[in-house]
């Protein structure tokens, strides 16, 4: 039950805050990664992922609430292994597991970009699971933003008013092998549940998109298990190979159980 693991980690993060810690400040160098390997990956061995995937993020999180991240497959075209899933972990965030992307077996997804919240100076790990059953890890380091930037909504009212809106966009791109680039945006506040209401002294309940599935016709392209480290209005931009499908379909589910669905005609000319 992949959905449970995200929820569990979110709960653990919440408990950490309730226990009085708050998001740990890197006062002393404490490396949470070994513990995360245990919690998220069941202590499975990690191979060096340098030849398998790349992770790109800015050195500094300019806006703590919106930090772009790109994951890219580096497997050679003649490599007979394929990427089954990529897990993105932001070590020092209150809920470190940002997202797990499961790549459709026939969609040949080669690049995924999204946006995350970054609370602190932190390692960010990307772990790819290949069809050989092994895990391959790469990491990068991001400095927290300075100043008044915060990993929270800028205009809480706008975030609510867009709730459930979905947008699909295709990008023109010269494709050698039928590769297309597309983007899905979902209007959702993706509330962390880590914010305390000052009047009631209770935590505002978490409310975020925890599942997103994308298909070209009936063939899965991506399935995303999301956590609260994904930015408000989750946005996924990706490159995949068309199977000639006419329609692109998306289904999202949030922590309140609400389901959002939409479908678009694929512009075959692009």
């Amino acid at each position: 039950m992949p959905g449970h693991s995200v929820r569990l980690l979110c709960m653990l993060g919440l408990l950490g805050v309730l226990a009085g810690g708050g998001p740990a400040l890197a006062a002393e160098p404490y490396d949470p990664w070994p513990g995360l390997v245990q919690d998220i990956f069941n202590n499975r061995p990690m191979q060096d992922g340098a030849g398998v995937i790349a992770i790109e993020m800015p050195v500094r999180a300019e806006d703590a609430a919106i930090v772009p991240v790109t994951l890219r497959s580096k497997l050679a075209p003649d490599d007979n292994r394929r990427v089954r899933a990529i897990t993105l972990v932001i070590d020092q965030n209150p809920a470190p597991m940002a997202a797990k992307f499961e790549l459709g077996p026939d969609a040949n997804v080669s690049e995924i970009s999204t946006r995350v919240r970054v609370n602190n100076y932190t390692d960010v790990h990307a772990v790819a699971e290949l069809s050989d059953g092994q895990l391959y890890m790469v990491k990068t380091y991001v400095k927290a933003s300075g100043g008044c930037s915060a990993p929270a909504a800028k205009t809480a009212d706008d975030a609510k008013s867009r709730l459930g809106q979905m947008r699909y966009r295709q990008f023109a791109r010269p494709s050698e092998n039928g590769a297309r680039e597309a983007q899905i945006m979902i209007g959702h506040p993706n509330n962390s549940g880590l914010q305390m209401d000052q009047v009631t002294q209770l935590y505002i309940p978490a409310f975020f998109v925890n599942e997103l599935r994308l298909w070209q016709d009936d063939s899965p392209v991506l399935a995303v298990e999301g956590g609260i480290s994904l930015s408000e209005d989750p946005n996924i931009r990706f490159t995949y190979v068309s199977n000639g499908a006419r329609n692109f379909r998306a289904e999202a589910r949030d922590t309140s159980g609400q389901i959002y669905r939409n479908e678009w005609k694929i512009d075959q000319g692009m």
């Binding site: 708050g22 998001p23 400040l25 790109e56 800015p58 300019e62 806006d63 609430a65 919106i66 772009p68 790109t70 970009s113 946006r115 609370n119 602190n120 927290a144 933003s145 300075g146 100043g147 008044c148 930037s149 915060a150 990993p151 929270a152 909504a153 800028k154 205009t155 809480a156 009212d157 706008d158 867009r162 947008r167 990008f171 023109a172 680039e181 945006m185 209007g187 914010q195 305390m196 209401d197 000052q198 009047v199 505002i204 930015s231 209005d233 946005n235 931009r237």
Partner: protein
């Protein structure tokens, strides 16, 4: 013996520091109009060395009472502002107005907590504090250090402004206005009717690169409305006290350029990661702290405009 001497010296130093704390030095303020006093903040990031004193803060003295407009970036700065007030008047401080919730404007609040003093803010300010307060308290330890941050408290307003509100200081009226999302979603302006002085908070930046933490489109709309206010002068959130409405021109140009560049990038399909490097690049030489804030503004603007 040497050890004992050391501890005596240490004790003396501690006593001296405590003395300073109890009787803060008055911060440097200037009377920009009769009864209107301003401390001009440094155009710099908040640090331990500058005690967070980067925003413009001030106060207005009426016949009966005083209103404080923003309290600075540390309790130390707040106490220094309090000392500057007490050097000029013994009248009670009836209102402490926060123009918005950013740390450089509100971290001094704790210096003003007293019976009879009411904290005033935009209706959205408590929500902003509950979403970000703890994060700010944690994050600013990195740059401001433990000593300054240990005494900072998030003090939420109890008098909230929905639309407009007038405060009577005795033969002197301040008109407060709550704005729709612009610089932040909790911007409040304060207009002193007597002298035509507008405390704009961070709705107006002069010289200091504007910082977008609300809505770019909303801010441009607010600038149009702000320009119609019948003020003689503006005290911007950052930068020099300036003539009105001329002070708006540079900021409007920057935000329009940012908006046009980002809109063109989105139309071309440029990814958000590439926007930060090039949006509004032509403005670089015209502002201070451009490298600190422009990329962040571009990122925020992108995520707003792509929903148009």
């Amino acid at each position: 013996m040497a050890l004992r001497l050391c501890s005596l010296v240490a004790l003396a130093v501690i006593c001296a520091l405590t003395g300073v704390r109890a009787q803060a030095q008055a911060i440097d303020v200037r009377e920009v109009a009769p009864g209107v006093f301003v401390h001009t903040g440094l155009t710099a990031p908040m640090t331990e060395a500058n005690a967070g004193a980067t925003a413009n803060i001030g106060f207005v003295i009426g016949e009966a009472a005083v209103a404080v407009i923003d309290t600075g970036g540390s309790v130390r700065e707040g106490r220094q502002l309090l000392a500057a007030i007490r050097a000029r008047t013994g009248k009670p401080i009836r209102y402490v107005i926060n123009t918005h919730g950013h740390p450089d404007h509100v971290f001094g609040n704790a210096a003003f907590v007293a019976e009879g003093t009411v904290f005033v803010g935009h209706r959205n300010l408590p929500r902003m504090f509950s979403a970000r307060g703890q994060f700010y308290l944690d994050a600013f330890r990195r740059t401001m250090g433990r000593e300054l941050m240990d005494e900072v408290r998030i003090i939420s307003p109890t008098l909230l402004v929905d639309d407009t509100l007038t405060l009577d200081l005795g033969a002197r009226t301040l008109t407060l206005r709550a704005w729709s999302a612009a610089h932040t979603d909790n911007d409040l302006s304060v207009f002193d009717e007597t002298t035509g002085t507008l405390f704009a908070g961070d709705l107006v930046f002069v010289t200091h690169t504007p910082v977008l933490d609300g809505s770019l489109r909303g801010w441009l709309r607010a600038i149009e409305e702000l320009g119609r206010l019948p003020a003689q002068r503006v005290i911007p959130g950052h930068g020099a006290v300036s003539d009105w409405p001329a002070a708006l021109a540079d900021q409007r140009r920057y935000l329009e350029k940012l908006s046009a560049d980002i809109r063109a990038m989105i139309a071309r399909g440029t990814p958000i990661s590439a926007a930060a490097a090039s949006a509004a690049a032509s403005e670089r030489s015209k502002w201070k702290l451009f490298e600190d804030y422009n990329a962040r503004n571009a990122t925020a603007a992108f995520s707003e405009i792509e929903w148009e």
